[in-house]
Symmetry: C2
Subunit: 109 residues, 2 copies
């Protein structure tokens, strides 16, 4: 945990968020500033800064993030209508919170 | 290989494309319809239809795709200025070619 990280505080339940899914490795909650009808964030419990900072040893959590997004899409019934999975990397790439997360975007008519 | 798949044909060198990187598992080439100054596609050699169709046994190629994108960003010197890694899933999610691929987008001023 990093003390000044908003996502670490959410994971530690020091800040409120509804967890749509959680297990020992990651949590899922809604983006508070949604860019699509469905906009969820898949967030590892471990504080990893960004895609730039992950190494081969983080491969398993990356895979689990993607499979979790895939399952959330099925649960939300947006798997066939379509969705996007997005990592924003660094400020210029749209990253706002420097705790690794995967965006699940969908639900367009 | 799927006979009617454009990306399978590119991988088999039946259609032209400059490979910016390749190894035994994947290839990287430019998107012919770029949406950013840098727009590369990381494409597994194996024909997997979309994120909807991958299973746990495909975890390793997914991870390799992401780490390849990370390395291409460093090579292109866009790792610190920022980039996006994007999977479009199904037509409504923006997927045009139904052979799994990861978009690397960046190079904005």
């Amino acid at each position: 945990m990093q003390s000044d990280c908003i996502f670490c505080k959410i994971i530690q339940k020091e800040l409120p968020a509804d967890f749509l899914f959680e297990n020992e490795n990651l949590v899922v909650f809604r983006d508070i500033n949604p860019k699509a009808p469905v906009h969820q964030l898949i967030v590892p419990r471990q504080h990893l800064r960004s895609i730039n900072d992950i190494t081969i040893s983080d491969g398993q959590i990356l895979t689990e993030m993607i499979f979790t997004a895939q399952k959330m899409a099925v649960k939300l019934k947006i798997d066939r209508s379509g969705y996007k999975l997005l990592f924003n990397v660094e400020k210029g790439g749209g990253q706002v919170i420097f705790h690794l997360h995967l965006h699940l975007l969908g639900g367009w008519k």
